[in-house]
Symmetry: C2
Subunit: 308 residues, 2 copies
């Protein structure tokens, strides 16, 4: 069963397209995880505290969303100890029935790209398959031939990728909108072509695209240009996009076709927003409820311009 | 002392601009490292074999070149065990007096980019500083604001980055040459501007650029557009570029201003080329001698169009 089909089934089961980003910024962790910030503590102990936070956050999300998206950088901060924590966190999410989209933004050429794909999606013989990602994010700058080894790994292993097409940061237009049509649209065309052979029974490809949800006006254009491509929409919540901004990414009446990511808005809901001051897990659970409800309302209320 | 100044001094000391890529493709390792390929062996044992190969290759290079460039993907293939090997290999290179350019091609926004920079260049308090890189490769697709945290980390820590500007793979033009002037030139302008405050006593910035050496005709244009930017030139040897192709990247009579990378051509010289069939370390040492001589000849014979 392809990644796209597994994701589609999981999204339909939970009846929402919400994705929880697991970005364990050490400075933002709740007071219970103070040991993660202790500069005198051994690195392995600090990484274990980060791991404990992530697994508890995953428990908050289990059965409520289809997938989580851990951010590699915050694990790499702890070097080899962080890599141990990463594998444990991914495996824990799988044990809890969640799909895992590794936010690693890797990209390289030829055999090096193949090694990244193998490392994160396929694993060596004997690797605990639960510690591997279901999909990863990939950077397209090097070109179509640099994406190809990732696509081949997806075809072999039933895994997926999300290619960065349009990101939500303020400085993204200078490079991503260069040319006519702009680079991001050219990248989208490559994503569609690479993904065409990997369209599953759900109608969705296992080659997805990251499209920044802060660009509401562009979302419909990307949705039309990428009719079989699952989208990953960052920017919800802490980065400023509302549920209404991103409804255009969903082609049908249901929650299929895109994932709406929130990271800090869930994990660190105890620090800011309507649930600030509550115990962190209660705050995270409440913020997730809010997000599921808000996204659900936006999908129910939108005009169905893109229905297939 | 800035990365650029340390690199410039190291290159002047060895009198050549050669960079040895440490890309431990498991399938290409010499027979002595057969255990790295044993699918039934524990992952940690296999990673330890990869580490042993890399440290022995580093011993071949020590005192002969200024720097090595380990490729992260081939370590990540072994998961957390590969991360242990990576740190050990980087530390070993430092003990042997070599600078280390981590070929990680990372890139992300804001606090995530800062976490990558911290992870690879600065380390947590208590981290063995020898296990951190002197510089890393960085992907520019997300934009100038996504590069900024890496530059700030370089300013704080005396480390460096090499931003991917123009890569040497056949599929690179479609995205990298999009627009007029092409995207790669726009990225180069950003690299120059970001690097301007980090120009050291040597006259070189600690913000460098990767420019594919298979594009000989473009090299002079990038050299002129990036007068204070150290270049990293992949593509020598196995990827088809000759020493003469890349001489245009050097502005003065000496070896300063660019690094010429060869990976497979050195590490796996026992498999192909004039030294095939010899014991692997002898073959690697001989291939490195050939490369140093060939690059030296090309620099001595070139017209000094770019002298400053």
């Amino acid at each position: 069963m392809s990644f796209a089909d597994r994701l589609d089934a999981a999204v339909r089961a939970v009846k929402n397209p919400c994705l929880v980003g697991i970005d364990p910024h050490v400075d933002l962790l709740p007071p219970e995880f103070e040991a993660a910030r202790d500069a005198r503590a051994p690195r392995a102990e600090r990484a274990a505290e980060v791991q404990r936070f992530c697994t508890e956050l995953i428990d908050v999300c289990a059965s409520r969303v289809a997938a989580i998206k851990p951010q590699s950088a915050f694990f790499e901060l702890f070097g080899a100890d962080g890599a141990v924590a990463w594998e444990a966190v991914v495996a824990h999410a799988h044990k809890k029935g969640l799909l895992v989209i590794g936010d690693v933004k890797r990209g390289d050429i030829a055999s090096t790209a193949a090694a990244y794909a193998s490392a994160l999606l396929e694993g060596l013989p004997g690797t605990d398959k639960d510690s591997l990602c279901d999909a990863i994010t990939v950077n397209p700058y090097l070109g179509e031939d640099a994406l190809q080894p990732f696509v081949e790994a997806c075809a072999r292993s039933g895994k997926g990728i999300y290619v960065l097409v349009r990101t939500s940061n303020p400085g993204s237009p200078r490079f991503q909108l260069r040319g006519d049509p702009p680079l991001a649209y050219e990248v989208a065309d490559v994503v569609r072509a690479l993904g065409a052979p990997l369209v599953g029974r759900s109608g969705w490809s296992s080659v997805g695209a990251v499209v920044g949800a802060t660009h509401a006006a562009e979302l419909c254009a990307f949705r039309e240009r990428l009719p079989e491509t699952p989208l990953l929409l960052p920017g919800y919540g802490a980065q400023g996009a509302t549920a209404a901004d991103l409804a255009g990414a969903f082609p049908g009446p249901g929650p299929s076709g895109a994932l709406v990511n929130s990271a800090r808005g869930i994990a660190f809901a105890h620090r800011a927003g309507p649930h600030a001051g509550r115990p962190w897990k209660d705050a995270a659970a409440a913020a997730l409820s809010d997000m599921i409800a808000e996204v659900g309302r936006a999908l129910a209320e939108r005009p169905l311009r893109h229905a297939r």
